[in-house]
């Protein structure tokens, strides 16, 4: 798939904790996908990521490195056709690049302009954000939380995965046929083990974890734990999932599964907490 990514998505990929834009960017530079870039689009990436506001948070060198890698990884296309079709003329550069490079898709977070033009010629524009999770009571104190539902993909989830714009079945999101309406199961990609006994709190990628339905299933170094989401202790900051899995058979140290909590998760978990509160749990 040939991909164009707009500047907002590029900056979000580089800086935002939410990893969805990052995943889209990483997939775009990963064969067989091809990210294409024109000088005009590169200039816009540069303008956006070097905003003075970001100077006190991330060094210029780190941002320059990201831009350099993207410039190296992307295929350079210089449009010869002038396009004047976007509601925002400043976005015409993306359309021109897409047309010149026969792009399959433009990844954008701009709902007002590029996304409203979908489909344009043979190119689809897709949003990088996912819809809010639905949190519904399933009776008897069992709740569903953490589901992600794709929005704006004209051909549905499988097409989006096939295009490489959403993680595939082996990369975090997969369909569970036993769930109604083919809901997505959210399986956070980070697989971190926190060894509490280590003085320097070493993190190592050692396990698998998944959240779906009303339970989280966690496999860490031969230890398996299944836990109801409703039983997860509320986090004060709601920044991460955290589950004590149990002692590590080999080292005896305590294994704690942690994963960053995305916005969707935070909302879902907060809603779940509100439901629990309302039921007096």
């Amino acid at each position: 798939m040939i991909v164009v990514i707009d500047a907002s998505t590029f900056v979000s990929a580089a800086l935002k904790a939410d990893s969805l834009p990052e995943r889209a960017l990483l997939r775009a530079v990963d064969a067989p996908n091809r990210l294409i870039l024109s000088q005009a689009v590169e200039d816009e990436y540069r303008e956006a990521i070097f905003r003075a506001k970001f100077d006190r948070f991330v060094s210029v060198e780190r941002r320059q490195r990201i831009l350099d890698i993207v410039v190296v990884a992307a295929e350079r296309i210089e449009p010869t056709e002038t396009v004047r079709e976007c509601h925002d003329p400043k976005d015409d550069k993306y359309l021109a690049l897409a047309a010149a490079g026969n792009a399959d898709v433009i990844v954008s977070s701009d709902a007002r302009h590029l996304l409203s033009m979908d489909p344009w010629r043979d190119t689809h524009s897709v949003p990088i954000e996912l819809s809010r999770p639905r949190v519904t009571a399933a009776g008897q104190g069992r709740f569903r939380s953490g589901f992600l539902w794709p929005r704006g993909f004209p051909d549905g989830l499988e097409a989006a995965q096939h295009r490489g714009l959403l993680p595939g079945i082996d990369q975090g999101l997969h369909l569970r046929p036993d769930l109604p309406r083919r809901e997505l199961e959210h399986q956070p990609s980070p697989r971190r083990v926190l060894d509490d006994r280590a003085g320097d709190r070493v993190r190592r990628p050692l396990g698998q974890c998944g959240i779906g339905g009303s339970t989280a299933e966690i496999h860490l170094r031969g230890v398996y734990r299944r836990i109801r989401l409703a039983d997860l202790a509320p986090s004060g900051t709601l920044h991460e999932w955290r589950v004590v899995v149990g002692p590590d058979r080999r080292s005896g140290s305590r294994l704690v599964w942690r994963a960053p909590m995305g916005e969707e998760d935070r909302d879902g978990r907060a809603q779940l907490g509100a439901i629990n509160d309302s039921l007096g749990k």
């Binding site: 907002s8 990483l26 970001f54 948070f57 780190r62 890698i69 400043k90």
Partner: protein, 79 residues
């Protein structure tokens, strides 16, 4: 390396000194070739992004601030 072509790449003085060694030039050439062929770019980019995000979080940059700044940039861009 087979099928190699010499090209000129601007580098800083320190790097130029390091590249006086032919073996290092060949190694750099192989590295750049592999980067451009794909595969490695994803990993290198992922690492660079992770570093930037760590720094951003450590200095207190939030997603809301990024969204606000991007909205301001878009507004200035349209003006």
């Amino acid at each position: 390396m087979d099928n190699t072509v010499d090209v000129m790449i601007p580098v800083d003085a320190e790097a130029a000194k390091a590249l006086e060694n032919p073996a290092r030039r060949e190694a750099v050439g192989r590295y750049v070739s592999s980067l451009l062929k794909g595969g490695r770019a994803r990993d290198v980019l992922a690492e660079a992004i992770a570093e930037a995000k760590r720094e951003a979080r450590a200095h207190g940059l939030t997603d809301e601030e990024i969204d606000a700044e991007l909205a301001e940039w878009r507004a200035e861009r349209q003006a």
